[in-house]
């Protein structure tokens, strides 16, 4: 039941701008919520979804623009201000107290008081009453962490109802739920909508967004792209809006995609039916000598999960991996490295650079780890490696003694690329190597990948930018909802085909 457009808005954000040092995180964004609607906020990583939510919940101060809630101007300084105005948030990682009872969590700060302080009996009864109104039958004296994530999420929603929320924000609530649990959650969300609560829903799962939403707002690069009723926005239009169609001057590299790859021999790596509970359902991928295979799909489709399993960063439950035709059980990153793999994580700061070590130390960390601590990489050898890659990749500033944490994102990415190339891998896995970096560094990295693969290096290349994938990879494996759903030859498709394929369940467009 889509909401009526004439109903007065409950939340009205106008011209919201938020700046972080060096970045315009939100640029003049309008956003509104109506009572009794489920409104999805869509956008790729870095689009500004979380920033917008944090502006609405008082986590970030806005640099310009206005926020009206229930017709009154608000300037939230803390999250408590936002809560007082009736805005509650249920985060992906549950922000309740795991070692308190369910009832205490639901009623925290709103305990029933009797003559001798808190009246626990009626407090717990009240908590159960609130939960029952959401169809939740849980003993309010049980400890919160003894329940599944799904139940904890529903408990968190019950708490929001105790706070008398008029607006409920659900940030990736379904990312760790199974299908039945999602159905239960959706049931609760719909009943809240019917009571007139405005619900802001954020999810990477397209199917779920289309199942539950009345309205969709799309952000890209901190800007508002559009607001649509769900039935007026076909899936491919949504994906196109999210990803954008920026044409840049990187056509020189496009020769890479058209290069013929010999796929008659044994693949460097082949994985079939790879899966791990809660991460990846099932994925197949193979890579041949000198081939660049792109993984395309929206965030949360299982791209990162797949390569982490290939590299041994996580251990698969199901499926098989052959390296150069030999069945392998890849147990750890070390193990994978010994088999000629290298993996550069999408999470540069947390899983890539060692920030306090110098650029030079970061570059040789991979080879040093392979050799063990006793056989130190000699100074002359280190200088040779560092000199070569500083030059070849154009690291700026060209000072190898600088702590790597002080470099810009693009240069950190180059340092990581150098670390892995120095180990002379046969298969290089790059997860979002060009995210959040400037165009120049992006071109440098793409050019290097194209050049090395032409010399025989095999590469798995993940990027949210589909043009980039189509430009570099000869073959693209498409992923959706934690599965690999098919393969395309880059030379035979264009961006529209790929978007279609990602958006439509059957992917029958090309057959």
């Amino acid at each position: 039941m889509p909401a009526d457009t004439d109903v007065p808005l409950i939340v009205e954000m106008r011209g919201i701008t938020i700046r972080f040092p060096g970045v315009l995180a939100l640029d003049n964004v309008d956003f509104s919520l109506r009572p009794g609607e489920i409104h999805s906020l869509m956008g790729e990583n870095g689009a500004g979804k979380s920033t917008l939510i944090k502006a609405l919940t008082g986590v970030y101060a806005i640099d310009s623009g206005s926020i009206m809630v229930s017709g009154e101007h608000q300037s939230f300084v803390t999250t408590a201000d936002a809560q007082a105005a009736g805005i509650s948030t249920v985060y992906q990682e549950i922000n309740l107290c795991p070692n308190l009872s369910v009832g205490e969590n639901v009623m925290l700060g709103h305990e029933k008081r009797g003559r001798f302080g808190i009246d626990w009996k009626s407090t717990f009864e009240e908590a159960e009453h609130h939960m029952a109104s959401l169809g939740l039958d849980v003993d309010s004296r049980s400890i919160l962490e003894s329940h599944s994530i799904a139940i904890q999420q529903l408990i968190a929603i019950s708490r929001a109802m105790v706070l008398d929320a008029k607006v409920l924000i659900l940030d990736e609530p379904t990312s760790s739920l199974d299908r039945g649990e999602v159905e239960q959650l959706f049931g609760v969300i719909r009943s809240l909508r019917d009571r007139g609560v405005a619900i802001l829903f954020v999810s990477h799962f397209l199917e779920q967004v289309y199942e539950i939403s009345d309205r969709i707002t799309v952000l890209r690069n901190g800007q508002l792209v559009g607001e649509h009723l769900v039935e007026e926005l076909p899936r491919d239009a949504l994906v196109a809006e999210m990803i954008g169609r920026e044409l840049d001057d990187l056509t020189a590299i496009s020769a890479s995609a058209g290069r013929e790859v010999d796929r008659t021999g044994t693949p460097v790596l082949r994985a079939a039916g790879l899966g791990k509970r809660g991460m990846l359902e099932s994925a197949d991928v193979s890579v041949y000598d000198g081939e660049v295979v792109g993984l395309a799909g929206l965030l949360g489709s299982g791209r990162t999960e797949l390569v982490r399993l290939l590299y041994g960063a996580d251990r698969p439950d199901t499926g098989e991996i052959d390296v150069a035709g030999v069945r392998q059980r890849v147990q750890s990153p070390r193990h994978a490295m010994a088999r000629g793999m290298a993996f550069s994580s999408e999470n540069r700061r947390a899983e890539g650079v060692v920030s306090d070590l110098t650029v030079a130390e970061n570059m040789i960390l991979g080879i040093q780890a392979q050799r063990g601590w006793l056989r130190r990489v000699r100074k002359s050898e280190q200088d040779a490696v560092v000199g070569e890659y500083m030059e070849a990749l154009g690291v700026r500033p060209a000072d190898p003694t600088m702590p790597a944490g002080n470099l810009s994102g693009g240069n950190q990415q180059k340092v990581l690329l150098a670390r892995w190339l120095a180990t002379a891998p046969e298969l290089l896995i790059l997860d979002e190597p060009t995210r959040g970096i400037d165009v120049g560094a992006k071109a440098d990295i793409q050019r290097k990948v194209a050049e090395l693969s032409a010399q025989g290096l095999s590469v798995i290349f993940i990027s949210s930018e589909l043009e980039e994938v189509l430009r570099i990879a000869q073959r693209v494996v498409v992923m959706r909802d934690r599965r690999s759903i098919g393969e395309l030859e880059s030379s035979k498709v264009n961006l529209d085909h790929l978007i279609d394929y990602i958006a439509h369940k059957e992917g029958s467009v090309l057959q």
Partner: protein, 350 residues
């Protein structure tokens, strides 16, 4: 000039110099060094000699802290090591024999190594938090030492063993040469091999190190073993000084002084970058301060408060925040240097 002030050992070293200067001003005899029988004597020489146990323990602590850990069991390991060595000498028919002493030392160090390996096992293999993992031995270790000495304070007479703590080699105390040797060995092993760099990598970013193929388990384990062995050597020096295996007072609270020395030397308790030279300076600060208390004749009842006040002062002098505050109050022209970039760097949330 600014290069010197910016050096990370500038403030610890100045604190040490100031401390020594204050002592010399208070009592000129502090700096006096006399020669007797070809040996040097004096307050400064005493500091070099007496700092040996703390120096060894703090060296090990530096490595453990670099891995984001902590080792609370070092004092207890000292007690066990001393008890083992003296019990062997006590039970031998030739307590003054060179062979007896070598065996006593070797067995004591082997036991210390096993204890360090136990700590490392709990932390790196079982993943127990370091503070809890080493608390086990901190509490149980002294009990074990009491068991070894059957609950008594074993005293022995063995002139050669006594030489370890009180003897002289050429003109300086043996104990001084022992700690210098330990510093050199640890320095060479950490900085001439890749162990130091890999230890720092694991301490700074464990996950990035794992993905880069670093054997973090082995590296963390090694740090605890080194800490155990170094504490064992400290225990031998301590017991040689007293010639009595006193399970209750050997290395009492030394873990806390060692942590203090490491921090004074500029190594962060958050792990990562460590400085062996800094730890050496930190230990000398702590030891000089102990001597100062004796030298200035601070009453025993007041000495802990005096110690604490000086430590607070030294820590404040080193604090970057106090430096900034000082600059803004006294309006120096150096304020142009970037003011705490970390605090202003806000991670952009997507």
């Amino acid at each position: 000039m600014t290069a010197i002030i910016k050096h990370r050992l500038f403030w610890p070293a100045s604190a040490l110099v100031v401390l020594i200067t204050v002592n010399m001003l208070a009592n000129a005899s502090f700096a006096r060094i006399t020669v007797r029988d070809g040996h040097l004597y004096g307050a400064l020489i005493d500091i070099l000699r007496q700092s040996a146990p703390l120096m060894l323990v703090a060296l090990g602590m530096t490595l453990v802290i670099a891995t984001r850990g902590i080792d609370l069991s070092v004092g207890a390991i000292m007690a066990v090591s001393g008890a083992v060595a003296l019990t062997i000498i006590d039970g031998s028919e030739d307590p003054g024999g060179f062979g007896t002493i070598m065996i006593a030392i070797l067995v004591a160090l082997l036991v210390s190594l096993v204890l360090g390996a136990w700590n490392g096992f709990l932390v790196s293999v079982l993943g127990i938090q370091p503070i809890i993992a080493t608390l086990v031995l901190m509490l149980a270790g002294r009990g074990t030492a009491l068991l070894i000495t059957s609950g008594e304070i074993t005293t022995v007479v063995s002139a050669p063993f006594k030489q370890i703590a009180s003897g002289y080699l050429v003109i300086l105390p043996v104990a001084f040469f022992i700690w210098v040797a330990a510093v050199v060995v640890v320095g060479v092993v950490e900085r001439r091999t890749a162990l130091g760099m890999l230890t720092e990598a694991v301490g700074i970013n464990p996950e990035a190190s794992r993905l880069a193929g670093v054997r973090s388990r082995g590296i963390i384990w090694t740090a605890y073993i080194a800490s155990g062995v170094l504490a064992g050597v400290a225990g031998i020096i301590y017991s040689s000084n007293t010639m009595a295996a006193d399970a209750n007072s050997a290395g009492y609270l030394i873990e806390l002084y060692a942590i203090l020395a490491v921090v004074l030397g500029g190594t962060s308790l958050m792990g990562g970058k460590f400085s062996i030279a800094g730890t050496v300076i930190g230990v000398l600060i702590v030891q000089t301060l102990e001597s100062t208390i004796l030298f200035l004749g601070v009453a025993p009842a007041k000495s802990p408060v005096f110690f604490a006040l000086v430590v607070i002062f030294v820590v404040l002098v080193q604090s970057p925040r106090v430096h900034r505050w000082g600059r803004s109050v006294f309006g120096s022209s150096r304020t142009s240097s970037a003011p705490d970039e970390d605090a202003e760097k806000k991670e952009v949330a997507a």
